[in-house]
Symmetry: C2
Subunit: 341 residues, 2 copies
DNA sequence: TTGAAAGCGCTAACAA
DNA sequence: TTGTTAGCGCTTTCAA
C-alpha cells in the first residue's frame, strides 16, 4: 500500500509538543504511581497525545522491560474443525484479560511448520507457549518447546513433566450415560470409536461407571466399536436394535447423525423408538438435527482458558500435572420428547 | 511457572564467546551479503550460537528497523463457524510466506473488544490490518483502523475507499445452477435467504443468469425466500414440489440439510426425486450428508490469502478496490447418481 | 514535581 | 575482514 510512512509519532515528539521531558510523558502515559506530575504538565501531555495521535510502541516497551506480553499458541488444525477456533478464543480472552496477546500459528500437523512456528515464537520472546491439538491425544513434543514455558492443551506428552489441560472423558461418558438412565432406559447401547485414544478408554469407563452406579449390569453386546463418523453410526444401528437397545450413547455427534439416518430409514423415530445422545456438542450438527441432539460438550473454550491460566501461573495443576476440565451435558430433544430432556 | 528466568542469551554473549564483535555476529546471523566474514570467524560464531542456544530477539530487530513484521487480523467470529478459521489459515500461510506473522484478535462482534484489539495492533506497529467477517456483508469501519493500512476480507465498507476482498456470489450462483442444468433439469427451484445481503442478491442474479444462458425461462414461483437454515429448507420443499421442481439450489448447505429431511420424510429420494445443490461447502455437513452434497465452495482460505497479498502490495485490486474471488463448484452425489456428478 | 542519562538487543554506517 | 559507534522508542534510577 502507500509507502510514504510519515514516521510514527514517538514519545519524544509528544514531549517536545508538551514542553516536557520524555520521562514525564512516560509517567503520564503509564499512569505511574510513584511520580507525581503537576496537573498542568499532565494536561499538556494529554493534549499533545491527542493532537499528535500518539500510540506507544509496544516493541520498544517490551524490549526495555525484558519480556514481551506474547503468549504463543500452536494449533494443529485451525481449519478442519470449529474446535481449534474455540480453544483460540478461550485462550485469547483469558490472555487478554491479563494484558497478553496471542501469537497463533497453525501447523496442520506439519513438522516443518511447527518448528518454524516455535522458532518464531521464541524469537518474539513469548512468555510461554500453548501447544494444542484438535482432538484429545498424546503428542510428541517438538524440540524447541523446551526452551520456554509450555503447557499442553487438549493433549499430553509421553514423559509427563509438562502441565497438560485436558477434558474429563470419564466424567463426560458418565454424564452421557446418565442422561439415558434418567429417562428409564436400561438397554443402553454405546457406539464407541475404533480409534485408540483417551476418548475411547475414558468414555467407555464413564459408561460402565454410570451403569454400575444405577445397578444396570454391563452387557458387552451393547458396546460396538465403529468408525467415528456418520457411516459408523449408520452401520451400528442394526446391531444395537437387534440387542433390544432403547437408547444409545454415541461416541460423537457425527456418529449420532448417522444413527438418525439409520433410524429414519427404518421408519422409526428419535427419541420414541431410540433415544440418542452424542458427544462433542458440535454446534452445526447437534443443534440442528431433527430432533435437536442431546449431547455432552467438549469444553474447548475452557481448555484454552485454563491453558493460559496455568501458563501464567494463575492456576496450579494438581499432582500429575494434569488439569482436568469437565464436559457438561447439553440437554436438547433426542432423549425425551418433553422439551429439553 | 518457574520464574528463574536466566536472562536470555544475547548477541553480545555470542560475540564474547566467539571472540568477535557484535556486528560480526549480526552479519553471520543474518547471512549478510555485503560483509565478507572469514571462514574461521564464521565458524566460531556458529559454534557459539549452537552452544549458547542463541535466539535473535525479534523485537529488538524490528525496533531498529523501524517496522514490525506483524499483520493484524481482526475477526468477528473465530468461534461460531469453521469459516473464520479458514480465513485465518489462508492469511497466515500467505503472511508466513512473506516473512510476516499474524496477530489475531477475535472480537465476537463486540465493539469494545474491537477497539481494544485494534489499539493493541497499532501499538505493535503492525504492517497493516485485515478486517474480516464470517459472512459476506457491509461493515462500519471501527475508528483507529484509519491509522494504518487496512484491507477488508469477506466484507466491504460503505464509502468504498478501502480495498476489499470478497467472494464472487454471482458466479457462485451461476455455478450452482449450472450443475443442475447440466443434468437436464429445467424446473429448478431456488431457496434463497430472507436476509438482505450480497449473497441474497448475488446468488439470485447468478441463478437467473445461468437460466437465461440455458434458455430456460425464469419462473418466480420457483424462487422462495426462507430462513437460511435447516428449518427454512425443510419448510420450503412442499412448495417447490408443488411447482414440479426436479432440482433445487439451496442458499446454503444447512438449508440443503433441511431439504434432505423433508424429502426423506415424504418417502422420496435425493437425487432421484429431487436433485439438490448447496452453497458454502461446509465440510461437516456437505461431505457427510447421505448422499454427499454437491455444492459451491465459499473460498475462505483464498480470501484470507488474497487479503494479505493486497495488504502487502503483491496484488492490486482492480478499479473499485474490489478483489473478487471465485467460488468453485464441488461435485458430490446429490445431483446425479453416477459418481461425482 | 520534573529532567538527564543509561541502557534493553539489535542494525548499519563508517573506520580501521 | 572486522570492530566502533550511534541510535531505534522506551523505562527507570538518580539528581535537581
Amino acid at each position: 500500500m502507500d509507502d510514504n510512512t510519515p514516521r510514527a509519532v514517538t514519545m519524544r515528539d509528544v514531549a517536545q509538543a508538551a514542553g516536557v521531558s520524555v520521562s514525564t510523558v512516560s509517567h503520564v502515559v503509564n499512569n505511574k504511581q510513584g511520580a507525581r506530575i503537576g496537573k498542568d504538565a499532565w494536561e499538556r501531555v494529554q493534549r499533545a497525545i491527542q493532537e499528535l495521535g500518539y500510540r506507544p510502541n509496544a516493541m520498544a516497551k517490551d524490549l526495555v522491560k525484558g519480556r514481551s506480553r506474547f503468549i504463543g499458541l500452536v494449533a494443529d488444525a485451525i481449519a478442519s474443525t470449529p474446535f481449534a477456533g474455540q480453544i483460540i478464543r478461550g485462550a485469547q480472552d483469558e490472555a487478554w484479560r491479563h494484558g497478553h496477546v496471542l501469537l497463533v500459528a497453525n501447523t496442520e500437523g506439519n513438522d516443518a511448520a511447527e518448528t518454524e512456528a516455535i522458532a518464531m515464537m521464541l524469537e518474539h520472546k513469548v512468555r510461554g507457549v500453548l501447544y494444542s491439538t484438535w482432538y484429545h491425544r498424546q503428542v510428541e513434543l517438538p524440540v524447541g518447546l523446551t526452551e520456554t514455558d509450555c503447557v499442553l492443551v487438549n493433549c499430553f506428552a509421553a514423559g509427563g513433566g509438562l502441565p497438560a489441560v485436558v477434558p474429563d472423558e470419564v466424567a463426560g461418558g458418565r454424564q452421557a450415560t446418565r442422561m439415558l438412565l434418567a429417562e428409564g432406559h436400561r438397554r443402553i447401547g454405546f457406539i464407541n470409536t475404533t480409534t485408540p485414544s483417551p476418548a475411547q478408554d475414558g468414555r467407555l469407563e464413564g459408561y460402565r461407571g454410570a451403569l454400575a452406579e444405577a445397578g444396570v449390569p454391563f452387557d458387552p453386546d451393547l458396546v460396538i466399536d465403529a468408525q467415528p463418523d456418520q457411516e459408523g453410526g449408520y452401520e451400528a444401528v442394526g446391531h444395537l436394535l437387534a440387542q433390544d437397545a432403547t437408547g444409545v450413547f454415541c461416541h460423537n455427534d457425527r456418529v449420532a447423525m448417522g444413527v438418525y439416518d439409520a433410524v429414519r430409514e427404518r421408519g422409526l423415530r428419535v427419541p420414541e423408538d431410540l433415544a440418542v445422545v452424542g458427544f462433542d456438542n458440535q454446534e452445526v450438527i447437534a443443534a440442528h438435527l431433527r430432533p435437536p441432539l442431546s449431547t455432552v460438550a467438549l469444553p474447548h473454550y475452557e481448555l484454552g482458558q485454563a491453558g493460559v491460566r496455568v501458563l501464567l501461573g494463575l492456576d496450579q495443576p494438581a499432582d500429575g500435572g494434569r488439569v482436568v476440565v469437565p464436559c457438561p451435558p447439553v440437554h436438547r430433544s433426542s432423549v425425551s420428547t418433553v422439551a429439553p430432556d
